[in-house]
């Protein structure tokens, strides 16, 4: 039932046979998945397919009932979100977790500010923020002086993503990044995913909108009723096939 599994050696993240139940409800059953550095993977599925459960397991919010997670071949046992972060996995949730009243630099270095003694090294925080923004082709965003609360949805999303880069994450999970965005802003967020990929990160984008992610993802992993219905490379698949996987859990049905 698994298709196109990348060899575990090249994998950044390797998930093997994980299952998770909540009481009588089997949310995930025997899901295996790999993602390599420099790859954008779209995780697709209908409501209740298990996308959120899988992501929460990878973010350290839920423990698995069975199965194994490896980062760069090292087995992981996530007890908390901090463990997942330490392993190099950063998740951008839909609420973005930004402090709207503060500027970009304060948000990028939230909780990990450069300091000199008890004092904030503002210059260094701003300079480093500029560097990260430039790296992600977000140089038009002001690093200091403008609260992120006045920025557009796409810009705020970009700030939240940039923060994962500051944290040194290797795998960046974006939870429905375009859910609240218009078409052009969505495209910008997707372009940002490409910047992350080009800098060597792996990106998982959760979406239930295939149209928005089709042009931007390298591979598609489809969940259906808690099982992995299939993994397809874009170059070897079609929109129709992915839709069938999402809706029926099998292609050619």
């Amino acid at each position: 039932m698994t298709t196109d599994q990348a060899p575990a050696l090249e994998s950044l993240l390797s998930v093997r046979g994980i299952s998770k139940a909540f009481g009588h409800i089997q949310a995930l059953t025997d899901v295996s998945l790999d993602i390599a550095p420099g790859e954008v993977l779209a995780l697709l599925g209908d409501n209740g397919a298990g996308k959120s459960t899988l992501i929460k397991i990878l973010s350290g919010l839920y423990a698995t009932d069975s199965g194994e997670i490896r980062m760069r071949g090292v087995p992981q046992r996530f007890q908390s979100p901090a463990d997942a972060k330490a392993a190099g996995i950063a998740t951008v949730y839909q609420d973005l977790a930004l402090v709207d009243t503060r500027d970009v630099a304060a948000n990028l270095f939230l909780g990990r500010e450069y300091t000199r003694g008890p004092f904030i090294d503002v210059k260094r925080n701003v300079a480093e923020s500029r560097r990260v923004l430039e790296q992600l082709k977000l140089g038009h965003l002001p690093a200091s002086g403008v609260p992120v609360g006045v920025m557009s949805g796409g810009q705020r999303q970009a700030v939240a993503v940039a923060r994962t880069v500051v944290s040194g994450a290797e795998l960046i999970i974006m939870d429905e990044p375009t859910a609240a965005l218009g078409v052009s802003e969505s495209a910008k967020v997707m372009a940002l995913a490409h910047e992350l990929r080009d800098s060597g990160c792996a990106v998982i984008i959760i979406s239930h909108n295939l149209q928005q992610v089709w042009d931007f993802a390298d591979r598609f992993a489809v969940l259906h009723l808690g099982r992995l219905a299939g993994v397809r490379r874009r170059s070897e698949s079609t929109v129709e096939e992915i839709v069938q996987l999402i809706v029926y859990g099998a292609a050619g049905a």
Partner: protein
């Protein structure tokens, strides 16, 4: 001749991405309080020849010092998202404890230490209710403040307790280089508050916790510790204000602090800080403190009846609240 279109290196792209900017109306509201203060000063200096004299300005400085010290503490706590209204009770318990203990023969240093401990305990109690029992800060500090005020009345047996030796605290009424001591203390508090909030890591975390506590928590900021810290700062500054009142009056009165509620909250709200947390500064609160101080002083100089003063003070507070409402409405577009 054929026109050739060559892409120039460094030419901006056809549609440059929009640069986010602060809202213009927000900016007008931001500078509004400076304009209001300047206008008040202008009006009063035209209306009364005495207003702009050194002597009168020092009077204002002396008069607003106590309000100012309290307002600085309330501001710091409010930036972290906690509205602390227990400051009046801390003033009362501080003044009463020191007066009663020294009357009973306890050494002054021990009495002051007891007052400091009592004041900080109020902060701790506020913190326990707010942080550990998840009760809103207004309710928590109102409840604790009411109880502590009751305690102050008990300790003083409902009486005004004179200091056995008022000279111990007479330094409060002294002047250094011509400047009243309470005013100098207030200036020191504001400089320290400005450095704390805008230059230190703790300050940055205070803003972060007030702006989005769950985001701060997820970023590894010790949110609960920050709440306790700001509540202790607020209580500590109220103890300081209590000692100043004690020195000024030479007695401990359990009704102290009750009258500060309006002026302090008025000054803080006037600064445009809002009740949401994450914004504001002690500099802006200072402008609010000065507006209220100048207004009170100017109206006295003009011989306006105190009933009108209270009416006008109320109007100022309404104005501050309306400005905040406009701001919030625009923000939630």
């Amino acid at each position: 001749m054929t026109a050739t279109i060559v892409a120039q290196p460094g030419t901006p792209p056809a549609s440059p991405p929009p640069k986010p900017k602060a809202d213009p109306v927000d900016r007008i509201l931001d500078v509004g309080i400076y304009i209001a203060l300047a206008a008040l000063v202008l009006v009063f200096s035209v209306a009364s020849p005495y207003f702009l004299t050194v002597g009168n300005l020092l009077n204002i400085g002396q008069a607003v010092a106590q309000t100012g010290i309290l307002a600085a503490g309330v501001t710091i706590a409010l930036i972290a998202g906690q509205l602390d209204i227990s400051f009046g009770s801390v003033i009362a318990i501080t003044a009463v404890l020191i007066a009663v203990l020294t009357s009973a023969g306890v050494p002054v240093a021990v009495a002051v230490l007891a007052a400091v401990v009592a004041g900080l305990l109020v902060g701790v109690l506020n913190g326990v209710l707010i942080v550990h029992l998840n009760i809103s800060s207004i309710i928590s500090t109102l409840a604790v403040g009411t109880a502590v005020t009751g305690g102050a009345y008990l300790v003083a047996s409902g009486q005004v307790v004179p200091l056995p030796d008022p000279t111990v605290f007479s330094w409060v009424n002294a002047r250094i280089l011509g400047l009243p001591v309470p005013m100098l203390i207030a200036i020191a508090v504001y400089v320290a508050g400005w450095i704390l909030l805008s230059k230190t890591k703790l300050g940055a975390h205070i803003y972060a916790v007030g702006g989005n506590s769950s985001a701060a928590l997820r970023a590894g900021i010790p949110v609960k510790r920050i709440y306790f810290t700001v509540l202790l700062i607020s209580s500590g500054l109220a103890v300081l204000a209590g000692v100043i009142v004690l020195g000024r009056t030479g007695a401990g009165d359990p009704s102290y602090g009750a009258a500060d509620m309006f002026t302090v909250l008025g000054a803080v709200l006037l600064s445009g800080i809002g009740l949401g947390g994450g914004t504001g500064s002690v500099q802006r609160t200072l402008i609010g403190v000065l507006i209220i101080g100048v207004l009170a002083n100017g109206l006295v100089l003009l011989g306006v009846q105190s009933y009108y003063q209270q009416l006008l003070n109320g109007a100022v507070l309404v104005l501050a609240v309306v400005m905040e409402a406009i701001r919030r409405k625009r923000r939630s577009r």
